[in-house]
Amino acid sequence: MSSEGPSRVAHSAPSGGSAAAKPPAWGGQTPRWAALALVLPALVVVGLFFVVPLLLSAVGAFRAADGSFTLAHFDKSLDLYSRDLIFTVAIVALSTVLIAIVAIAIAGYLTLGENPRAVAVLRWLYRWPLFIPFVVAGQVMRTFLAKNGMLNHVLIGAGLIEPISAESMLDWRGIVIAFVWKQAPFVTLLLAGAMASLERQHIEAARNLGAPRWRVLIDIVLPQVRGTLLVGLVLSFVTMLSVLSVPLMINPNSPTMITVDVAYRINTFADYAVANALCLLSLLLAAVGAAFYLRHAVKRVETGS
């Protein structure tokens, strides 16, 4: 659910820039009103169902039971959940790094691979997790990564580990694995698209001069698609911050991700105030990603690339 939102944003940013250049062709005053009328329904929906609840939730985070201003909810959030906040950042950051590595490897092979059959199979395979919802990914990992789960059975069967050293990975590792498995294809999709649209001459020139493929990938291809990679990673970062199902299914115990704590405050204590405060704190984390994204999107529009 949350994975499709950001991808739409990704496409709309550059096209929004080019649309802004077109209106003069319409001419006159009326079309401007018409344009306004056209976007109004969308604006109202966004305002009513997104901005207003967001503001209410932000206000709720600072409001005591008697309606006065207070910071007590933030005190409590930091007192009880600062460890989970750090854990959330660490997990999401680590996942983002791993996603980058996996996506570069897959997209790189799709662009530079020389065995057409292997490229075709990989191209067909890598997209599958894109269509699996997070909750299903969590559910699959629950049996796959358990101590006596499929992964360990395979490893033991292949003689790679001893049965006695098999351990459950249903902790932070499970969450990271689920995130990388689910989000890497998304970034790969963006990255492979960007790599495919590069001028082939650069690559061929480098290959003719004797550069190995990994040098071509790192020195020639990657610098040209850096922007796309960054956007994909930022969107993944923000998406992962908001996922509740995966940590809930894999490891709802401490330390856990902040989304689980938000759900827990509401479900167990009907405590919307602290939940709101926690949401605002995770919004701050997401804002870091948003700042990156905006800076880059603006740069792209300005340079026209």
Binding site: R83, K147, M249, N251, N253
Partner: protein, 381 residues
């Protein structure tokens, strides 16, 4: 001409088909709890009631497991109360104790126990008292459920009889006991309640009150022991997660809901060797309550529905035999309606005597909050 006749007859048929639907009463049953609660109404109770009352359609909706399920029902009713709606669209709700206490307190419910015949069949104090709140007259227990230790007798020859023995056992057998913390479902929460009850020395006070905020320190002291205990145990992902891990042989013991355990057993999802035991001084259990919202659209039909659901026949066949819950009404009325074998199945591992001695209610709401928050503060930090 022929075509017109055809159209007309189609129209007549259409009206005839639509009419009974319009004359039907739809009884909206909204249930908190796991999916098996919704299944119980949709697959068992609803069809039987519809058969006995032509023209009535029972529609059951689930709001999710745990207290959050009841919280959603509370929020819905509360919103309708605040909006001043004349009739509310929930006729029968099935809620947890905490939810019932809040709803009675905010006048969201209608007293009905004296209006239904089955109201006289209840005997446990849960019919009048929900975690210290007086709910007399507003609720009837649908069933009682209980948390107990499930253990694999191949690994655990004699299960620990109390929490001290358990602590010794986990130190000798690290990572063989698993529970689901306080954020992963009520069987874990219940274990924590049992731990505090056993180790704080507060005993009955937690369940009967009066509430004393100063007890917080005592509670947190007993939770410090749990932090140490946690180093030797495995954290499981949820109520079902504990049963899963027992099944896969990843843990040898853990707290589970008895009804869930028996249902898995009956479905063949559970290692048949696994047994139950109830340690001293006890683990909590809880009823689910049938309640009627204060402005239910079909209150009369709702009472009839609950009366039927609480009848000894339904309690025997539906609640005990098919869904493996302990009865909501006094067991003596239920036992006589059942074959001894089916009745005894429920008490194979935990005798009725153990159940009445070590099956405890959850602590009062305020203590409950103190304990789970204390767990976050002392054990998790």
């Amino acid at each position: 001409m022929k075509a017109r006749m055809l159209l007309l007859s189609i129209a007549v048929l259409g009206v005839a088909a639509a009419f009974p639907a319009a004359a039907q009463t739809t009884l909206n049953v909204v249930s908190a709890g796991d999916q098996n609660m919704v299944d119980y109404v949709n697959n068992y109770l609803g069809p039987k009631f519809e058969q006995m009352n032509p023209g009535v359609k029972v529609r059951a909706v689930g709001t999710g497991p745990g207290d959050s399920g009841s919280q959603k029902i509370y929020e819905k009713l509360s919103a309708q109360q605040k909006a001043g709606t004349a009739t509310w669209d929930v006729d029968v709700a099935v809620v947890h104790q905490r939810g019932a206490a809040t709803m009675v307190d905010e006048k969201l419910l209608m007293p009905y126990r004296n209006d239904v015949a089955a109201g006289k069949l209840v005997s446990r104090d849960t019919a009048t008292n929900a975690l210290g709140a007086n709910v007399d007259g507003y609720v009837l227990p649908m069933f009682h459920s209980q948390i107990a230790f499930a253990y694999n007798p191949d690994v655990v020859k004699t299960p620990p009889k109390n929490f001290t023995e358990l602590s010794d056992w986990v130190k000798k057998n690290p990572k063989q006991f698993g529970y689901n913390g306080v954020k992963g479902g009520m069987s874990g929460v219940g274990f924590v309640m049992g731990w505090v009850n056993a180790n704080s020395g507060l005993g009955d006070k937690l369940e009967k009150g009066p509430y004393d905020p100063a007890a917080k320190a005592t509670i947190e002291k007993s939770l410090a022991g749990l932090k140490d205990f946690n180093q030797y145990v495995v954290m499981t992902p949820g109520n079902a997660g504990t049963l899963d891990m027992l099944n896969r042989g990843e843990i040898a013991m853990g707290p589970v809901w008895v009804d869930m355990f028996y249902t898995w057993m009956a479905d063949g999802k559970m290692n048949p060797k696994v047994k139950l035991s109830l340690p001293s001084p006890g683990l909590p259990g809880q009823p689910m309550y049938y309640v009627i919202p204060a402005k239910a659209a079909n209150a009369a039909m709702a009472k009839k529905f609950i009366d039927f659901a609480e009848s000894p026949e339904v309690q025997a066949d539906g609640i005990v035999k098919q869904f493996n819950w302990y009865p909501g009404i006094d067991p003596q009325y239920v036992q006589s309606k059942m074959e001894p074998a089916a009745w005894n199945k429920l008490f194979t591992d935990i005798s009725p005597a153990d159940l009445s001695k070590n099956g405890r209610p959850f602590p009062l709401s305020q203590y409950f909050t103190d304990i789970v928050e204390g767990y976050e503060r002392v054990v998790l930090k």
